[in-house]
Symmetry: C2
Subunit: 123 residues, 2 copies
DNA sequence: CGATAATATATCGGTAATCGATATGATGTT
DNA sequence: AACATCATATCGATTACCGATATATTATCG
């Protein structure tokens, strides 16, 4: 259904896509400055008008994964107050963000093109 | 992180999202007329410029699932030639398509709003 | 006419990630 | 003092995509 050497470039990988969106949301939130996990969840929920929402059983493993991948870097805040792990964007994360944002944009236009014909036409 | 009774409406369920896209692609393809599975895969790939692509280990289980859910209906073509199972949209499938297309559109705008600030600015 | 490629469907095991539940503890509020 | 909220962490169940594999039929080409 497609040779291995397809040049394509912007393919859709269903498995990686939801994961990709989550990581993108984290990166987009951190782009505005360092934040700790709980705050990231609040920011994402607020900025997306409640469309995107992190369950904490999902959030923290994602942050650990992204830290291990070098996309973000977490440090325990040394100050007083509640213990928080503050994450910042790494250079790799910044690069990843701008590249993936374009990629997702392309994939979305592809999806929209297919759905446009199918959209409910207002009477 | 959010009360159970949140009215929200258009929430993002990461688990169901990739699945939702696959089903949407099938429905969108069938909207143009009845087709058998293999043809659906070719259509989707062509209409999306190769962005979306069904692996056959993915395609057929999805078709079975959607048939069981009553979104599409498959019949073995009685004519000669290769044995094909031809699928058509059910009324439920048609309803699901127009509803979900709107929903996905909303979710996408939410995502785009968050990414817009993060997009690579052309030098 | 014999070999091969493309068409067409089906299923299974491995893998990976979300999700809900559960745990822990500090801080602020009444 | 009691309670809600903030804040992080982990585990088991579930789900479903994906590659590999199997089976058959039809078209193509030498």
């Amino acid at each position: 259904m497609s040779k291995p050497g397809t040049p394509g470039g912007q393919e859709f990988d269903a498995q990686g896509f939801a994961r990709g969106i989550h990581e993108l949301l984290v990166l987009a939130a951190l782009r505005e400055g360092p934040r700790h996990g709980y705050q990231i969840a609040l920011d994402v929920e607020a900025h997306s008008n409640g469309v995107f929402r992190f369950r904490h059983g999902t959030l923290y493993p994602i942050l650990h994964r992204m830290d291990a991948k070098g996309l973000i870097h977490g440090r325990w805040s040394s100050g007083k107050g509640r213990r928080k792990k503050v994450y910042s964007l790494t250079d790799g994360g910044r690069r990843h963000l701008s590249g993936e944002a374009d990629r997702v944009q392309d994939i979305m236009s592809g999806l929209m093109r297919m759905l446009r014909r199918a959209r409910k036409v207002p009477a």
